[in-house]
Amino acid sequence: MTTLIRKMMTADSDSTLLVKSLQFLSQRAKAVVLPMVGIAVFLVIWSFAANSIDTSLGKFPGPKAVATQIGNLYHEHQSEREKEAAFYQRQEERNAKRIAKDPGYQPKIRAYTGKETFLDQIGTSLVTVMSGFILAAVIAIPLGIAVGLSKTLNTAINPIIQVFKPVSPLAWLPLVTMVVSAVYVSPEPMFAKSFINSMITVTLCCLWPMVINTSVGVAAINQDWVNVSRVLRLPSLVHVQKIVLPASIPAIFTGMRLSLGIAWMVLIAAEMLAQNPGLGKFVWDEFQNGSSQSLSRIMTAVIVIGFIGFLLDRAMLQLQRLVSWDKESANR
């Protein structure tokens, strides 16, 4: 009898273990399955909706058309690279022949000038957005710390920030373009003007959220930490380095994530408007092109833009986890 009971008990504990592991599995499964279901439903609705919309350029692209285009765009990129490699090889052979005939000949190396592929445009956009973003951070974080530390400076600068903050950077674009073409004149420019235009536009929109968040973070430092610094008589520079900067890292990162998101959106628009190379130009070119494939290529670009935006935000979050002591604020 007792053995029976014991058996039943062990069976019971086994079964609770089973239930628990099932519960755990189902929780994990939920985290994986639910997004999958969401995506599947979205794809179905999308393809139905796409099927029933007719435009002058054919049907609205559905998921299938986009999938085909992803393949196409990748192949185009590969074949363009092959062409480029072939071009350089031809050039080298030609030059070698000339030198064999005429040893004093100085060979001219010409750069390949094929059209930029979708992947090249992605690269250009990423480089532009990061350059503009970093330039903005270099200006905004020290400025934000100064504004946060000094009430006087805050009162003086705040109206300017408040007025410029709501301005769409696209309104700046014509001004930036004109100023850059007037000021940035050098016989051998290190950067293309179009790149400088896009970068400054991105910088202008990144600046304000970063300045505001940094200054708010700095102004809201725990008074106890400031008192510790005062009791120790830390010199101002050490105070900023050892107390202010680490204490406001969470706020600084909030500002950086906010502005990187805005920057990515603004960059695409700026590239479309100003015909600067990048993903925005790709979209605009396809729109002007007006072939039967254009819409599906644009749709592909839309999805890729979304993915890159998402990845940029994740990357910032990872960076924040790496740098910040406040793991709580990095979880959101």
């Binding site: 106890d224 008192n227 510790v228 005062r230 120790l232 008589r233 680490p246």
Partner: protein, 291 residues
């Protein structure tokens, strides 16, 4: 012994939108080297204000504080503060928190190796050497307060200022910390001003207990000399007649001579009693921890 710290007739007036608020009125206290002073009084009576003036974090409106006959005008490491909520920097480990202080205070007076020894020595003193490379969020409240004390001790202050150092801790941890503090005090014989709410803590630790009257315009009410033998043991003292006499003297001061009178907002009092906006006499017993 000569006077180390002279708190000389300080007034503290805070400007408010409704006019000036006098927090302290003629607080006068002379402290000898090596003395352990407790400041006790109901909450809001200005104990922390006194401490902050001594620390230099606040400037007295009238009067002043002299340390070794020199006027205190700004905060400094010779008047180290142990704050109520530890105020460790959360991005630094226990060791680094102490290191920040040591590097600043003993800059160029100690070699790197000496500094390391000194930091570790102070952490050992508060029994935190086993967790010195942990961050504040990885250790308990009592341990954080220990590190806070180690940081203050590492500055080798002339006066150690403690603002309710154990107020946020549970009773058992608090008793433990008090024992630790007595142990350290036996060894170092620091000059200490400690703010407390706890009558037993005041009697157990202090050489003198300074009882403050209620604010506004709070001042020193009575000073009680505690002439109990050291080292003191809390268990044997519980039966000690002198200990109990001192304890009840403090309690008498707090509950009879300085009964807390608070102005209850008109709304709640009219609800309870039907009267409007009168002064209500309230016995605010929760303020002082008798247990």
């Amino acid at each position: 012994m000569s006077i180390l710290l002279d708190i000389s007739k300080i007034d503290m007036v805070f400007p408010t939108p409704k006019g000036d608020f006098t927090a302290l009125k003629e607080v006068d206290l002379k402290i000898k080297k090596g003395e352990f002073i407790s400041l006790i009084g109901h909450s809001g009576c200005g104990k922390s204000t006194v401490l902050n003036v001594v620390a230099g974090l606040l400037q007295a409106t009238k009067g002043g504080v002299l340390l070794n006959n020199k006027e205190v005008t700004e905060p400094g490491p010779e008047r180290a503060v142990v704050f109520q909520n530890h105020s460790l920097l959360p991005w630094l480990t226990a060791y680094q928190n102490v290191e920040l202080a040591v590097k600043q205070v003993f800059n160029r007076k100690m070699s790197k190796a000496e500094m390391q020894d000194w930091i570790e020595h102070n952490l050992r003193l508060v029994h935190m050497d086993h967790a010195m490379h942990k961050r504040p969020d990885e250790i308990s409240g009592g341990m954080k307060q220990r590190v806070g004390i180690a940081r203050a001790l590492a500055m080798q202050p002339e006066v150690l200022l403690m603002d309710e150092p154990f107020g946020a801790l549970d009773a058992l941890t608090r008793a433990h910390m008090q024992d630790s503090l007595m142990e350290i005090q036996d060894e170092l014989n620091n000059t200490v001003i400690m703010i407390t709410h706890d009558v037993d803590e005041a009697v157990l630790l202090s050489d003198r207990i300074v009882m403050m009257t209620n604010g506004p315009a709070a001042t020193v009410g009575e000073i009680l000399d505690v002439k109990l033998e050291r080292p003191r043991d809390r268990l044997s003292l519980a039966q000690d007649a002198e200990y109990n006499r001192l304890r009840s003297a403090v309690l008498t001061f707090l509950y009879e001579k300085q009964r807390k009178v608070e102005n209850i907002p008109a709304q709640s009092s009219s609800k309870k009693t039907g009267e409007t906006g009168d002064l209500q006499k309230v016995d605010n017993t929760n303020d002082v921890d008798v247990a």
